[in-house]
């Protein structure tokens, strides 16, 4: 696993971004990095601007202050290098599963012909276990299968960075567990950089190398960074037996329950600075 302090330049550098709606800052002075191949989860309560941060990273929204640098270049809009897995799967209902993935592929590879896109789309669907449903429309798929198609679409274009906005929050627990492990495997195998928004603590512990904890909005900040020291591979079934799991989980939960409320940016805890948020490594 790549350590958080990397010698090479981080893949994503978020430099002091803020977003205001009607004069109130949802969040401001947000700084963090995501290293190459690292998987970072952003955890916080509703209303702290998590989704807005993800949209800014995706290039779908622009910050009012600050900037985001990806691979050394400031971003100005969306890019095929940063794929998004949407919370609502966002499949086109008039296309079959294969056509949805094929559309993404034809955008990535404009000179591929229909046949090549179709074949590659079926292969991508096979990787998420959906070969049998390639010709079905989204209306004929279950919630978990739709989200699988969304994942296949995002992975098919081989982005360097994968952005995920609570991709599993609308699914039942069983499907969610299976998909989390699949995403973990697919992202680690391809060495992609992952950034996921979630409010499921176990999901963050299962997937993340580092967990960013956001204080409550308005005026939200990254209050703490937790380094996940649990070794990989992690599985949903064995996660809670790993030494250090409970300490990590308690630390994050305590933050969500009390510390996220108590954090005041004008009077931060000792040692906190927006540019260098202290990292903690909870151990039992």
């Amino acid at each position: 696993m790549p350590p958080s302090s990397m010698i090479e330049r981080p893949d994503v550098q978020v430099e002091g971004i803020a977003r205001r709606f009607g004069g109130t800052a949802v969040f401001e002075d947000v700084w963090f990095n995501v290293g190459k191949g690292e998987f970072v989860c952003l955890v916080g309560h509703s209303g702290c601007g998590k989704t807005t941060i993800l949209n800014i990273l995706a290039g779908l929204d622009a910050p009012d202050d600050g900037s985001i640098i990806v691979s050394g270049k400031e971003i100005t809009g969306p890019s095929l290098d940063r794929a998004v897995i949407f919370q609502s799967h966002a499949l086109m209902p008039w296309m079959t599963a294969a056509q949805n993935v094929g559309f993404a592929l034809s955008c990535r590879n404009p000179h591929w012909n229909r046949r090549m896109c179709e074949d590659a789309a079926r292969e991508a669907l096979g990787r998420v276990g959906l070969s049998h449903a390639a010709d079905r429309k989204p209306a004929q798929l279950s919630g978990g299968m739709k989200q699988r198609v969304g994942i296949a679409r995002a992975l098919a274009i081989q982005p360097r960075i994968l952005l995920m906005d609570e991709p599993f929050s609308a699914l039942d627990a069983l499907t969610r567990g299976a998909l989390q492990e699949e995403v973990s495997r697919l992202v680690t195998d391809s060495g992609q950089t992952g950034f996921m928004i979630t409010h499921d603590v176990d999901e963050a512990i299962l997937l993340a190398d580092r967990i960013l904890l956001m204080s409550n909005g308005p005026g939200a900040r990254i209050a703490e960074v937790v380094v996940n020291t649990l070794p990989r591979p992690r599985t949903r079934a064995s996660l809670h037996h790993m030494p250090g799991y409970h300490a990590l989980r308690d630390h994050v939960l305590d933050f969500l329950i009390t510390r996220s409320r108590e954090f005041v940016a004008t009077n931060p805890p000792a040692g906190w600075s927006a540019r260098a948020v202290p990292e903690s490594r909870p151990v039992a």
């Binding site: 995706a58 290039g59 779908l60 809009g77 969306p78 890019s79 095929l80 940063r82 794929a83 998004v84 949407f86 609502s88 966002a90 086109m92 209902p93 008039w94 296309m95 559309f103 993404a104 955008c107 990535r108 429309k137 989204p138 209306a139 274009i157």
Partner: protein, 283 residues
């Protein structure tokens, strides 16, 4: 939600209603013809023609007369014996041609323009006053202006069809395009799909059901308006034919024309219904 009824039961009831209606009509006409009026002088009758010879009796035909006349008309619907005597099929074909030309011309302008209006809030706001003022105008009010500027009555009828069918398509296209789900547009943006790909692969299919609904409303209005327009411009077409039969006091032909106009209108609506089914999508 209404309960589903078996097809045959609905069909049986429909046929029964039709039979009672036609039977009552037939009986009423029979009763009127047997009660004969005062005798007519044969010389007067020869001079004044059939209506007088009937002794001032009703010109309203019985359903059996209409059926006979319908059979006559449909035996040779496409005959042409000079400009004033052409088969009913020829007349309907003329009307369909005008409706088709005006409708397709309107679609060719309304759908691209609706696309632009739907995409651009500025254009929407700028063009809205014009659309709101022009839309409620009866299409026939354009007829004199069209006759004056185009100077061809047949093309003027096409223009009237064009102007009446443009509004539903324009407004529905603009609405459909403007209400394409933001998440689908975001997918297109993150995939760096260019404007052309976004328009053809995301906006058009997403808005297609709304656009086709507009087309369906338009063709319905166009078919309503063509009859009135042809009554005005004359020459050919089912509307002209109806007016001609009124001048001949041939009520049977008028009833047949009403039936034909209804059936053709139904067929046009079904045609667009098929298109609507082809572009429909379910979530």
């Amino acid at each position: 939600m209404q309960q589903q009824v078996p097809f045959w039961r609905a069909a049986a009831l429909s046929l029964l209603i039709l039979a009672v209606f036609l039977g009552g009509w037939e009986a009423a006409i029979r009763a009127a013809t047997t009660a004969s009026g005062p005798p007519v002088d044969p010389e007067y009758a020869a001079l004044m023609g059939q209506a007088a010879a009937q002794g001032g009796q009703t010109a309203m035909p019985a359903p059996s007369d209409i059926a006979k006349r319908l059979f006559e008309l449909l035996r040779d619907p496409f005959y042409v014996r000079g400009p004033n005597d052409q088969g009913i099929g020829v007349q309907i074909a003329y009307s369909l041609l005008r409706v088709g030309a005006g409708f397709l011309l309107a679609a060719a302008i309304a759908i691209p323009l609706g696309f632009l209006i739907g995409m651009s809030p500025l254009l929407n706001a700028a063009l809205n006053p014009f659309i709101q003022v022009l839309r409620p105008v009866s299409p026939l009010a354009w007829m004199p202006l069209a006759l004056y500027s185009i100077k061809d009555s047949s093309i003027s009828a096409v223009f009237v069809i064009f102007i009446c069918s443009i509004w539903p398509m324009l407004l529905n296209t603009a609405f459909g395009v403007a209400s394409v789900r933001r998440e689908w547009m975001n997918v297109g943006r993150t995939l760096e799909a260019g404007p052309w790909r976004t328009a053809t692969h995301i906006i058009l299919p997403a808005a297609a059901p709304t656009i086709v609904t507009g087309m369906r409303i338009s063709i319905g209005i166009a078919w309503l308006v063509i009859v009135a327009a042809e009554m005005l411009v004359g020459g050919t077409g089912i509307g002209y034919w109806v007016w001609n039969q009124w001048n001949n006091l041939s009520i049977a032909d008028i009833v047949i024309a009403i039936l034909m106009i209804g059936l053709v209108g139904l067929a046009l609506d079904r045609l667009l219904g098929l298109l609507a089914r082809a572009v429909a999508w379910a979530e």
